[in-house]
């Protein structure tokens, strides 16, 4: 998956992953992709819900990576308008 910027919110609890992602998305050009790294398991469903609500983004993909036995939830968010 191609991306233009990375936002690392590992260790941050809800609502910060989405608060920070909103701020980052507003810095991107239309068409660019933000990769978000989170340790908050709840972020998976919350990013899906946010993408349905926000008109200027599209959730391209979500992945789970393992790092030292800890799960990292990765979200790819594209700015579409």
């Amino acid at each position: 998956m191609q991306f233009d910027r990375v936002l690392d919110v590992r260790g941050l609890a809800c609502p910060m992953p989405i608060v920070k992602a909103r701020q980052e998305i507003n810095q991107l050009q239309v068409g660019q992709v933000l990769k978000v790294l989170s340790t908050d398991r709840g972020s998976v469903k919350d990013f899906q819900g946010w993408a349905q609500t926000a008109k200027n983004i599209q959730l391209l993909a979500q992945e789970t990576e393992k790092e030292n036995d800890k799960e990292i939830y990765v979200h790819y968010v594209k700015r579409v308008s």
Binding site: C14, P15, I18, V19, R22, K45, D46, W50, T53, A54
Partner: protein
């Protein structure tokens, strides 16, 4: 001179339970996503006025960088007609962090909003202890997780105790027996649970007591694999002594193949997952509902032959309103024969009962297969995973109990 009254900014889960027990009305504002909310929410004896708006909608539509400012903007634009100004608004999220900010925003514009500290995670992990009967010769305590509808028991006599169906957070039982100066002699499970992780093996290890389970339930019914944890074999008719109290085991296959109930002093029947207050246990969580439903019928029929004055103490409840005035989930067998839909069907014969059972099955939560694995020692989740497996309310009873 006016005195400024300091308003509470949060409720602990204990304070929430106190409000629910007193039947005080408040407004529930749940900011989790819609799936989580529809699966599981805070329930009272009577329906609470409730609103669910996922926090990311508040952030997005509030439109500010700052969370509290977004809440204020969103509430002023969209919630004025929906939020009450004459009631406490309890704001709830998954872990209590986001809801604290939402409550803060609502307070700034004049609402009496409080945060539920620790959120639904803390509510799900909250335990409450109430006494069913208390005397030196016999005490029985009902230990519940109100949010999950799980019930467990301490049977005590002459300083000795047996714990029946202990739940995962065993420190609650350890603290309680210490306070009551009891020594745990015995840990008993009624069956291999599907909806919650048993604290049985862990508690028995901590106090060096034997842990009993029926051997049929030490085989995972879906994997067909033997348990990887040690236990003592329970058998039908087996008797235990705790102080001067007598506990008799009755094997009643149906909900599981190794399902048992415990009859204490010929009077109190700890029914685990068989007879509940409003309904009976489902027969299909082992994946063999059609085969097990007739077994379940014969087992329940056997229990109906006990005296009508037998006090039923179930392993679950479905709704808070099933509690009596003392907040206990209990009733006599005679009362339940007249009220409980499942037991009424038993009295109509095997075919009627089996048809009723198989036509009333609620959804089969997929995580129940994994929970049975954990309880057989076939899977060892960390705390976060364990907590996630247990999220929400149990669905061990037939669907009838869930009508609004």
């Amino acid at each position: 001179m006016t005195t400024a009254v300091k308003q509470a900014t949060e409720w602990t889960v204990q304070e929430l339970k106190d409000h629910l027990d007193r039947g005080e009305s408040f407004f529930l504002f749940d900011v989790r996503n819609r799936d989580e909310f529809s699966t599981w929410k805070i329930e009272a004896r009577t329906k609470l006025p409730t609103l669910n708006v996922p926090y990311f909608e508040i952030l997005e539509e509030g439109g500010k960088d700052d969370v509290v400012e977004s809440v204020i903007a969103y509430a002023q634009a969209k919630l004025v007609s929906q939020l009450p100004t004459d009631k406490t608004i309890l704001v709830v999220c998954a872990k209590g962090g986001t809801s604290a900010l939402v409550a803060e925003g609502l307070r700034q514009i004049g609402y009496n909003a409080v945060n539920l500290a620790g959120g639904m995670k803390a509510w799900g992990d909250f335990y409450q202890i109430k006494s069913v009967v208390e005397s030196p010769a016999l005490s029985i305590y009902q230990i519940s997780r109100p949010a999950r509808g799980c019930l467990s028991y301490v049977i005590a006599s002459q300083g000795e105790a047996a714990i029946v169906d202990p739940l995962r957070h065993i420190e609650h039982y350890l603290d309680f027996v210490k306070e009551k100066k009891l020594s745990i002699k015995l840990v008993l499970d009624t069956h291999g649970h599907a909806d919650h992780i048993s604290g049985g093996r862990a508690l028995a290890d901590r106090v060096n007591a034997p842990y009993y389970l029926h051997p049929y339930d030490a085989i995972h019914p879906i994997d067909v694999l033997p348990a990887k944890l040690s236990f003592e074999f329970l058998r039908d008719g087996q008797e235990f002594s705790i102080g001067s109290a007598k506990i008799k085991t009755i094997h009643i296959p149906g909900h599981t193949l190794g399902n048992v109930v415990y009859l204490v002093n010929e009077k109190y029947l700890l029914t685990g997952d068989s007879i509940f207050i409003e309904s009976v246990a489902r027969p299909d969580l082992g994946g063999r509902g059609e085969t097990w439903a007739p077994l379940h019928y014969r087992s329940l029929e056997r229990l109906l032959k006990l005296s009508d004055s037998t006090v039923i103490l179930p392993g679950h409840f479905s709704q808070p309103k099933e509690a009596n005035a003392q907040g206990l989930f209990m009733a006599t067998l005679g009362e339940l024969k007249a009220q409980n839909e499942g037991l009424q069907m038993v009295q109509r014969g095997e075919k009627a009962f089996v048809d009723y059972m198989l036509s009333s099955l609620p959804t089969f939560p997929p995580q129940y297969v994994d929970i049975k694995r954990v309880n057989a020692g076939l899977l060892n989740p960390d705390e976060e995973k364990a907590s996630e497996l247990e999220l929400g309310k149990n669905i061990c009873a037939l669907a009838q109990a869930y009508r609004d």
